[in-house]
Amino acid sequence: MMLLSAARRTRRLSPSLLAGGTLTTLIVAAAIVSFVWTPYDATLIVVENRLLPPSLAHWFGTDHFGRDIFSMVLQGARTSIAVALVAVGVGLLIGVPLGLLAAAQRGLFDEIVMRTNDLVFAFPALLLAILITAVAGPGAVNAILAIGIFNIPVFSRLARGSALSLWTRDFVLAARVAGKGAIRISHEHILPNIASVLIVQGTIQFALGILAEAALSYVGLGTQPPDPSWGRMLAESQTFVALAPWLALAPGAAIVLTVLGLNLLGDGLRDLLDPKTRIER
């Protein structure tokens, strides 16, 4: 509703919103379609078909096990999207309430939340993810956990910062006078007002999550076989890059298009929801 009314207000959609929205929709659609249809079974090994170049039968060629790369890319989309999306969800579900509470309570609780955020930020994100997957073992679920943990301070900082500026506004004062408690005000008045900022940050974190999942899978700590993953496809392609460069092209391009789409979507949403930033960028 919020997005529709903003779109109506500005009367036209920005090119980045259109391009980002289209790319993201296409990739998400491909991921959904892969649940019911792929040209071939993505896990089917056909040795006699190994390392076939792109053709009408195999649009993106085949890998060293004779598996159809187009089918693997389609299924890889759902792995990447699922991991990144749930990781954003983890960050939102834990980070936003923490940030809202810190802004509402201030004092010791606020200090603890902020210092914990500082602590997490002291670890370079990828290193933290590698450390967590090393401890918990490789796999998609642990990759979600690793990426999600880094999303928590991102959202809690953003929610706290945005909420703090709202706590001095008249409508919040009116709610306090009406006898509403801090939690109820945060839920009913603050959260709807910071939703747009959270949505924009959500798309950025989503894109970063796709990159992080690919990086983790590339070093063998993310999604495990037989589930196809773009990062692992790239790792497997490395040995054959001189013989069969198409092995590396399709999964890499899929990552780039997904991240590009999400970043453009984030930019477009920011323009739509906060027109002040449009000129600066």
Binding site: L126, L131, A207, Y218, Q238, P245, V256, R281
Partner: protein, 316 residues
């Protein structure tokens, strides 16, 4: 200002101390016993117990933490379970690859980003600006390890200009060693350059709207001159801040890129240590990287205060 800096130094020191605790706790719960890993599946229980005792693994966790912390304060990171050499030696040896790689990538990203950001800001709203912004969008979206693979395919396997991987070592001559780092540097610098170009452009556009730039223009200074002499200097402050903050991300990013090029850097060391359950090495590398992150953050704050008098005055 001195009081503020002391406060920040204390706060960052505390962050580092808590980070050591977190790293210790996290790695202490890793499944798998390093001693069993070293001795193999058919190890004699008595020898295994002796090795666990030698490594100090039979002590309670809190005792091991304080022993580790004490050694850490003295610069001793322990002895690697698998390499049987001091971890600090291993880290210094591997840093001789990772650090030049990260520094070269930082320098290259600056060389690309600053002129490109200035170019785009000076032509804001025009086609060339849109082209630069589009290129940076693409640069941010390209995973550095994929870009690295493409570089290997084009420049190593097809054109044979560079080797596809490996590192001859600095003893074989600086030229050979630097040549081995060219492709990894480019791969690591690309996303960084894209981010910095965007920051430079935005900061410049914002500064160009400030009163002092308008005054410079009204005094008759040309747009190019006012941009170079007045706007750029001010716009560089946020650029340097981001650059400092990104430095540790580059060090971490090198973990993946080193893997593509089989470079014997910190990244390969930590990933190999994880698979070999050589936790003392993992602990050492992680704490060095976190300490680097905390130190760089602090240095950036000091640089920021020196560069921007408004910050300095505001905090005295």
């Amino acid at each position: 200002m001195a009081r503020y800096l002391l406060q920040r130094a204390f706060s960052l020191g505390l962050t580092l101390l808590i980070a050591t605790l977190v790293i210790f706790v996290v790695l202490d719960i890793v499944p798998g016993d390093p001693a069993s890993f070293m001795m193999g599946l058919n190890a004699d229980p008595q020898t295994l117990a002796q090795l666990r005792h030698e490594l100090g693994l039979d002590l309670p966790a809190w005792q091991r933490y304080f022993i580790w912390l004490g050694s850490l304060a003295g610069g001793d990171l322990g002895i690697s379970y698998t390499y049987r050499v001091p971890v600090s030696e291993l880290i210094v040896e591997r840093l001789s690859v990772s650090l030049p790689l990260t520094l070269m990538a930082t320098a290259l990203s600056l060389v690309i980003a600053i002129p490109l950001g200035v170019f785009a800001a000076a032509r804001r709203g025009r086609f060339s600006d849109a082209a630069v912004v589009g290129a940076t969008q693409l640069g941010v979206a390209i995973p550095n390890f994929w870009f690295a693979l493409l570089l290997v395919f084009v420049f190593a396997t097809t054109l044979h200009w560079f080797s596809a991987g490996g590192f001859p070592g600095w003893d074989e001559g600086t030229g050979h060693a630097l040549q081995a780092l060219v492709l990894p540097t480019i791969a690591l610098a690309l996303p960084q350059a894209a981010i910095l170009t965007r920051v430079t452009r935005s900061a410049l556009i914002e500064t160009l709207g400030e009163d002092f730039v308008r005054t410079a223009r009204s005094k008759g200074l040309s747009e190019a001159r006012s941009l170079r002499r007045h706007a750029l200097r001010n716009a560089l402050i946020p650029v340097l801040t981001i650059l400092g903050l990104q430095f540790t991300f580059l060090l971490a990013g090198a973990i993946i890129v080193e893997n593509v090029f089989y470079l014997p850097g910190l990244g390969r060391l930590v990933l190999q240590a994880i698979t070999q359950r050589d936790l003392i090495v993992v602990q050492g590398v992680v704490i060095v990287l976190v300490a680097a992150a905390v130190t760089v953050t602090f240095l950036v704050e000091i640089a920021y205060m020196i560069a921007d008098p408004r910050v300095r005055v505001g905090r005295t």
